[in-house]
């Protein structure tokens, strides 16, 4: 009887303990799950409790296989080696180098930054950085650089990270402004996504 009372009282105890939030109990639950996903894989994470004979587990594993080692599911189906052979006929002069950068996001980023001189454009790493962009029209002199990192081969909305760093001129010296540009970075990301989407649609229609 005592055993049953103990078990039945577990639920309110857990809710009570976890409701405190951010504490010893429950505070790192989601973070811990994510770390275990990295170790065991999402489907085989023992704390996610998939029944290994269930349909959900089977579908999960098939998705995992489809995603490959990088965990990203390519949207386009392709047979390994066949495309290369058809396009290159085995010529070593036409070797195809694969990239981990989505081409639409890359093109969209280049398009958005087309008005500005680029300091770095690393298409393999998916990294773009402008030269200093000067704005002398306000009372204070300001200059900014834009950094864009494309971190996925998938055409997904969270595959672009933008960062804006600005400096102001004080006593002939450029000092980091310390401002954050969250909204501007967000709008810049959306502009890149919009431009990328146009490239994608053009490609689909061609």
């Amino acid at each position: 009887m005592l055993k049953k009372v103990f078990y039945i009282s577990l639920l309110p105890m857990i809710i009570l303990l976890t409701s405190c939030g951010g504490g010893m109990i429950g505070g790192q639950y989601q973070e811990n799950l994510a770390k275990l996903d990295d170790v065991y894989g999402y489907c085989d994470n023992p704390q996610r409790g998939y029944n290994k004979s269930s349909i959900e587990y089977k579908v999960c594993k098939d998705k995992e296989s489809a995603a490959g080692a990088d965990g990203l599911a390519d949207t386009d189906f392709r047979l390994p080696f066949v495309d290369d052979l058809l396009n290159n006929r085995g010529s070593r002069d036409n070797l195809v180098y694969t990239s981990s950068v989505n081409k639409y996001l890359w093109s969209g980023s280049l398009n958005i930054l087309s008005d500005y001189p680029l300091k770095t454009a690393d298409s393999n790493g998916g990294y773009l950085e402008t030269e200093w962009i000067y704005d002398n029209q306000n009372d204070r002199e300001q200059r900014c650089i834009i950094k864009i990192q494309i971190n996925t081969i998938e055409f997904v909305s969270n595959g672009v990270e933008t960062n804006i760093i600005c400096q102001t001129k004080q006593n002939s010296e450029w000092i980091n402004s310390g401002d954050d540009f969250i909204n501007a970075e967000k709008q810049l990301t959306l502009a890149i996504l919009n431009s990328s989407r146009n490239y994608y649609l053009e490609n689909q229609n061609s």
């Binding site: 023992p46 579908v59 490959g68």
Partner: protein, 319 residues
């Protein structure tokens, strides 16, 4: 600069908007070719030929979130199993519901016992290759009944993840009710925690067997995962006390050849009473994009049971 900000501000924020669905469906399909000894087909006749098999599943997930942030979810599915040669179309799910928030998860209904099988890390191949027919009967750790009506509570304690399960009735699975006086109880605890670069898993599961007259079953297991030069190494040990006591020791290593190709090798050594077997497995999977992947698996068994090599190749498609 200002020009750029003005320009981007004018753009719609709905470019890549995604709706959050309360009910979602996903599925997968598989087609396989298996060879080995007496392949396990739906045909009752024993055959040493190659077995061709296919099937698929459709999984539904339902969820909603309360104003306080708690997510309530349930799921169901239909399938024609592509992992074994049972041609019966199955309908599963809807037998449990999960309440989850940032700090915990609570599942009640027909649930799986946690803590059982923690030390089994050598099974890197899918169930498909088992249909090749060669078997290792000396590998038999784990409690007999691992599903029943009850609950699973999960949370974290510092850096450790902890799950606890209590089954009111482990004798009947896939049911939507149980009596407190069933007598067929089971409970289990699973703990996963980082220790430096290691990730350690501990499991404990126990069941009562009042009806059968046999002894209660207790299974304990430990696993250790360690990143090793771009690969992942796992070691495990499991021990079960039951009518025929058993132990297994296992190891697995996995890695990738490129962004789309993964490999895994596993080894299991087991003893169950006077039986002793070993099983080695290897799997190579290549993603082709569009949800399609192809794989090749090989499984070698020796010792008690039937010794030999099962092989499987095939494709799976995730929708």
């Amino acid at each position: 600069m200002k020009k750029l900000f003005i320009m981007v501000s004018a753009l719609s924020a709905a470019v890549f908007s995604s709706a959050k669905a309360d009910i979602s469906a996903s599925g997968s399909y598989g087609a396989h070719a298996i060879s080995g000894g007496d392949v396990i087909g739906g045909d009752a006749a024993t055959t040493t030929g190659t077995l061709f098999m296919n099937g698929g599943g459709l999984s539904f997930a339902m969820s909603t979130t309360t104003a306080g942030g708690m997510t309530v979810s349930a799921g169901a599915g239909v399938s024609l199993d592509s992992n074994d040669s049972d041609s019966t179309k199955g309908v599963t799910g809807l037998a449990n519901v999960t309440f989850a928030a940032d700090g915990f998860s609570f599942q009640v209904g027909d649930v799986d016992l946690v803590g059982d099988g923690t030390g089994h890390v050598g099974n890197v191949a899918s169930d498909v290759v088992d249909n090749g027919g060669y078997t290792a009967t000396g590998i038999a750790t784990g409690v007999s009944d691992t599903e029943g009506y009850g609950f699973v509570a999960s949370t974290s304690v510092g850096g450790a993840s902890v799950s606890f399960a209590y089954l009111l009735d482990k004798a009947n699975s896939a049911v939507n009710n149980a009596e407190t006086s069933s007598g067929d109880y089971a409970s289990g605890v699973s703990v996963s925690m980082p220790m430096g670069d290691l990730t350690v898993g501990l499991g404990y599961a126990t069941t009562t067997n009042p009806g059968s007259g046999s002894a209660n079953e207790v299974s304990t297991g430990i696993s250790v995962a360690y990143p090793l030069g771009g690969t992942s190494l796992k070691l495990g040990y499991e021990s079960t006390d039951e009518s025929v006591d058993s132990t297994t020791a296992s190891a697995a290593i996995s890695g990738s050849l490129d962004a789309d190709t993964t490999w895994a090798i596993g080894y299991t050594d087991g003893e169950a009473g006077t039986s002793a077997s070993t099983r080695s497995e290897a799997k190579l999977t290549r993603s082709l994009g569009g949800g399609v992947s192809v794989y090749a698996e090989i499984q070698n068994t020796s010792g008690t049971g039937s010794s030999g090599t099962n092989m499987a190749v095939g494709t799976t498609v995730a929708f």
